[in-house]
């Protein structure tokens, strides 16, 4: 969806564009530039997250792809800054820089688990509970500073990457299946000062509501992707992109099945103060399907339909 209100005129006048020219080129080529950028963005994401090698992935390749994604994201942020109403959302004061600061390490195969923003309603910073194993870090695996948080929440990266992933994601799974608003609350309280503490009551209120839906949604998303528990090649890059990219309608990341079980604290803790409902309300104008707060995922509906069919049909 490239609706920036630009009319594609054959001449080079910018009158057709409503004053939001942010790409380097004008007119029709601007559309193709955006298209190409989107394509490259998609390809880059797929490279990072669909690769499951037996051996350690090439750090050089990962770095280059990450840089590519960051550059595109920068561009989009600059473009997005011309549309302030999208940026506000429910983020604390400076969402953009916060996101960068709070971003998970991009090189998780060396350190922390990959962060995936896909689950919009995942408001549980589960990973911050799972610190014990992750404290066993060598210098060689050390990335971000460990448990001490100052300001933005940053989960300590576990040293044992793939093993930790499956362990932590298994725990996630278990936690998700058990309604645990209190644990979520406790976790929210545990995570360092800053955004999550700032709005604990709000998150408490909304989390139980968000939990049941997120549970089914996540279990739905989990099923087709069992292997994602051990993403080693993936990076935490996408945590940079969490809310911002969802809010920027240009980027359609919904086609990627991100494994919600490996979404670690960074994304989750950032989203802690944001309730599922608020997110969905923000998203509603941008998605083609009508989204109501109590039915966040169409998949739930189809699954329910399917179950009903099975029950009734038999």
């Amino acid at each position: 969806m490239l609706g920036k209100g630009g009319k594609r005129k054959f001449d080079e006048h910018e009158d057709g564009l409503e004053g939001k020219v942010v790409s380097p080129t004008d007119g029709p080529s601007k559309v193709s530039y955006t298209l190409q950028r989107q394509t490259i963005f998609n390809i880059s994401l797929m490279k990072l997250y669909n690769h499951r090698p037996l051996t350690e992935p090439s750090l050089q390749k990962t770095v280059l792809i990450n840089n590519m994604l960051r550059r595109i994201q920068e561009e989009l942020k600059q473009e997005g800054s011309l549309r302030p109403m999208f940026v506000a959302a429910s983020q604390p004061a400076d969402p953009l820089s916060d996101n960068f600061r709070e971003a998970q390490p991009a090189f998780s195969h060396l350190a922390s688990p990959p962060l995936l923003p896909a689950d919009l309603v995942s408001t549980m910073p589960l990973e911050s509970c799972l610190t014990p194993a992750s404290l066993l870090e060598d210098d060689t695996f050390c990335t971000s500073p460990a448990v001490q948080h100052d300001g933005p929440t940053k989960p300590p990266p576990p040293a044992l990457q793939p093993v930790k992933d499956s362990f932590s994601s298994a725990l996630d799974e278990i936690e998700e299946l058990c309604p645990a608003p209190t644990s979520a609350e406790a976790v929210a309280a545990e995570s360092a000062a800053g955004d999550s503490k700032a709005q604990p009551s709000e998150s408490n209120i909304h989390k139980p509501e968000g939990l049941p839906e997120s549970r089914t949604a996540e279990s739905k998303l989990m099923d087709p992707l069992p292997g994602n528990f051990e993403i080693t090649a993936s990076t935490g890059f996408l945590t940079d992109l969490t809310l911002d990219d969802i809010l920027f309608a240009d980027i359609d990341t919904s086609m990627y099945d991100f494994d919600p079980c490996t979404s670690a604290t960074g994304a989750a803790s950032k989203m802690a103060p944001v309730s599922a409902d608020e997110l969905l309300k923000t998203l509603a104008p941008y998605s083609s399907q009508p989204v109501t707060p109590n039915q966040p995922f169409k998949m739930d509906l189809t699954e329910l339909d399917h179950i009903m069919e099975v029950l009734v049909g038999s």
Binding site: V63, N66, F107, T232
Partner: protein, 420 residues
């Protein structure tokens, strides 16, 4: 046969070593010209084959460590035996290759087949004698340099002092002494305190051919740093920084990726160095840091295909480059089993193909041409018909003669200049 992953002549050019993806090293030896065929140039025949590295499993990360040989570097010969360093992603090994053409016979305590003799049968003392035997070439590992690299080793380089060598991985460079395996010194470390901030990695490193205190390393951002080990123990501060300013007119999404340097080689003279990035080869004068003195386009026609090449990962292919013995010509590989040579003084470039169909023994290679504009002439290849799976990443040039070794996937081709 496995995919060849490295090719290297020794200092005299008599031996040519290849390493492959299966961890094997195959050494070829040039046949001596005999009196009966004085004009025949020496052919290379297999001299020794051995398994250098085995696959390992990193239990901590649950990942395999590939046995693929990333680099082989010869040591200068100091006695009858030959020594080379071979490395995979994590471990460097020093191998000794020696010949045995004599066998001792007449031991006192054991029979010819090795069985111990009965003590009461030993009635007299005799001196074992040496008898000739068929030539046997033995390779034995003499040193194993392990556990010094967290990331993947991409380069090794023997110092001109012939006593030390460096090994480089994505973020660090270590200095070793050939005799000491339990200790290595870190001389470059570009790992950031916060790995999130990592945007650049080391891609290649090499010692200066004459100055044992000087080495260079290249990065994924297209920069080369020259370091002097005399200035400090940790050479994080470079002495010289080589970078060509970006051409704004050719900027694209892929500018950074195609600027990533895949190989850096000093000239034999030590005055120049050559870098290979995705589309070009650049020759730098060590005295001029702001731009290269020569730039050669290897396959500029790929510039419009970068998006597809990014998609199929070809854009990350690491091509190597090499100088000839006199530094007058440089060579590098391309796709479709093409490789390119550039004569520096005449600016003449040639594209040749390494394939069975075009390489009949003793036949002269026909220059190839890739058609870049619309109309394809006879014998030209269009860009779209190039086979991107047939890539020539590894080439080597004989240190003295005009003999080149070209690795095309799992085949090794040896070409030499025709002498009239």
């Amino acid at each position: 046969a496995d995919i060849i992953s490295t090719v290297e002549f020794n200092y005299t050019g008599d031996l040519l070593a290849t390493g492959d993806k299966g961890g094997r090293v195959v050494i070829f030896q040039r046949e001596q010209e005999t009196k009966s065929r004085p004009l025949s140039r020496g052919e290379y025949n297999v001299y020794s084959t051995f398994q250098s590295h085995e696959p390992e499993f990193d239990y901590l990360k649950s990942l395999e460590i590939e046995e693929k040989i990333n680099k082989i570097r010869w040591l200068p010969q100091q006695n009858a035996a030959h020594f080379l360093l071979s490395t995979n992603d994590k471990t460097i090994k020093l191998w000794k290759i020696s010949e045995r053409d004599k066998r001792a016979e007449g031991y006192n305590l054991k029979d010819e087949d090795g069985r111990l003799r009965e003590p009461f049968r030993v009635t007299e003392l005799r001196v074992p004698t040496l008898k000739p035997m068929d030539l046997m070439v033995e390779a034995s590992p003499r040193r194993t340099f392990a556990n010094a690299h967290t990331y993947h080793i991409n380069s090794i380089s023997v110092n001109s002092d012939y006593a030390t060598y460096l090994s480089a991985d994505d973020l660090r460079i270590n200095l070793w002494h050939l005799e000491v395996t339990n200790r290595s010194f870190n001389i470059v470390d570009i790992k950031p305190a916060n790995m999130e901030e990592l945007t650049e990695v080391i891609t290649a490193a090499e010692f200066h051919p004459h100055h044992c205190n000087t080495f260079v390393y290249s990065s994924s951002k297209g920069t080369i740093r020259l370091c002097d080990m005399r200035s400090s123990a940790l050479c994080d501060q470079h002495s010289k920084f080589f970078e060509e300013p970006e051409d704004p007119s050719s900027r694209s999404f892929f500018s950074e990726i195609i600027s990533s340097i895949s190989d850096v080689k000093f000239s034999h003279s030590g005055r120049y160095m050559m870098t290979r990035d995705y589309l070009s080869v650049k020759v730098w004068d060590l005295n001029m840091e702001n731009r290269p003195v020569e730039t050669y386009q290897v396959h500029e026609y790929l510039r419009s295909k970068l998006c597809s090449l990014y998609e199929n990962d070809c854009i990350f292919d690491k091509f190597e480059c090499c100088w000839n013995g006199s530094d007058s010509t440089i060579m590098t590989g391309s796709y479709n089993n093409f490789f390119r040579t550039f004569e520096r003084s005449t600016q003449r470039d040639t594209t040749l193909e390494a394939s069975r169909e075009s390489s009949k023994p003793r036949a002269i290679l026909k220059p190839r041409k890739v058609c870049t504009s619309g109309k394809r002439k006879k014998d030209e290849i269009t860009v779209d018909s190039l086979d991107f799976n047939k890539k020539i990443l590894h080439t080597a040039w004989h240190p003295v003669d005009n003999i080149i070794a070209v690795a095309a996937t799992n085949n090794l081709y040896l070409f030499q200049e025709k002498v009239n």
